[in-house]
Amino acid sequence: MFAYIVRRILATIPVMAIVALFVFSLLHLSPGDPAVIIAGDTATLEDIARIRAKLGLDQPLYIQFVTWVWGLLHGDLGISIFTNLPVSKLIAQRVEPTVTLTISTLIVSVLAAIPMGVLAAWKAGSWIDRVVMVFAVLGFSVPVFVLAYLLIYVFAISTDLLPVQGFVTLSGGLWPFLSHLVMPTLALGMVFAALIARMTRASMLDVLAQDYIRTAQAKGLANDKVLIGHALKNAAVPIVTIIGIAIAGLISGVVVTETVFAIPGLGRLTVDAILRRDYPIIQGIILVFSAAYVLVNLLVDLSYTFLDPRIRY
């Protein structure tokens, strides 16, 4: 068990190494001189030379790589071209709203989707099942930013119930904090909840067909005990797996949601960086988000042994 945990943690190193190698080579994969592309159409020769020196592009490739990785290992993600501030500092400043939004979306969609999936599987073929499946298909089909604008139209423009945009920290008061979070969470959580509900339903249907469920029902165990204690517990592994995989989509969605609701998080930072072609920021954000994804999936893998004692390594 312990050996497995160590091996699993070590296995994330090559994955992150590939991500780092890819992020590094991004600049060099581009057709043409990266300094010219970053500088943009209106740049002078001096601008291009300045950017080239700042990114170390005048050095040989292997020296650039070694310097860059050495910096990474020391938490140095480079210097922003536009603001001249360290990228790690810029990311640290913006991380709070993004983490808040991601966690609230995770909580809300898991709490909504798992009961939906369980009910749909239990009452398979009934109107409840149909409603859940329609929700799942719609959830997949309405893109996060379209849903976000529909919500703004309903809750902020025609009814004025919720603030249109912005972010308030918890220290700014509970209601301002929550009210700014409702619409982004709903918009971002829809796809996620649809996916989890669907996976929960599928996984529960498999488990409910097992003999031990019939045994539990036959011995007169209450429905809720069968569903939650016996069935959901055994259906948990695929559900947790899909949550881990879907985190990638959630991260992509955060970038868009923050743009629509003008939330000053990592997503905004990304979009501003794209518009200014501030490449060190884009690289830093990709590294941070990918690391988060790898970390979440590490936790998911490690959770299997706790969810299902039959899984041994």
Partner: protein
Amino acid sequence: MTVAPIDLPLLSAPAKRKGGLRTYFRRHPTIVIGAALLSAMTLTAVFAPYLGTVDPQALSPIRRLRWPSAQYWFGTDMLGRDVYSRTIYGARVSLTVGISVALLSSTIGLSIGLVTGFSRWTDAVVMRIMDGLMSIPPILLAIALMALTRASLENVIIAITIAQVPRETRLVRSVVLTLRELPFVEAAYASGTGFFRILWRHILPNALPTLLVQATFTAASAMIVEAILSFLGAGTPPNIPSWGNIMAEGRSLFQVAYYIVLIPGVFLSVTVLAINLLGDGLRDALDPRLARRM
């Protein structure tokens, strides 16, 4: 990284059902609805110039921000351009991106997946690279690629394809790994069938249904990614009326003229819905085991 066990359509022997097309449609209503919606959208895209549209780029400063009316069905935007014409022409961009990315990434994923499914050495190397690429959220990967090139429709397609290929490869590989262990493949080997003939006659046809279903979902997600890229300013150039671009332009005016954002948004959602329904229906039809569950 552990991947959820995938049920593969190995049992998808195309059982001939009696009763013809009508029974078939009654059995798989989602295919019919999806296909009908998608055909309508495709016809709209193809015949865009004949559907009462004007030049989608034509500026008309005196007719700025007119609300939807009999003359301007979907209103006009802040530069006086006709939102109806722009939305109709936008269908061309979305469908082009969806279909191109689905075709390209399926082909590339199929080629890499077939090789890695049969060669242990390549498998170890290629799949580690794919694992790394899959840890980068697809939209961020596409954004990073777009930030390095000039905005154009071709570059958008290439960027989204690169972001999709790891997923396709993994799928093809898992199908091939299961198929090659099956008795009929072994029998083909035993009777002296050549490697490429086995690939072509035995592996490929059995992998196609799964790949086809995956291609529909790839097309749907490619359309969403294209719209998001354009919406964020990293997608198709502003002179192409894509749905994402129209929404991005209407963004700052949402409070006064929400139709500019909502109309292309609804078109995008309906198109994606059509493809998802088609994909769900195809999976149900081609893969009876999964159909029962999902």
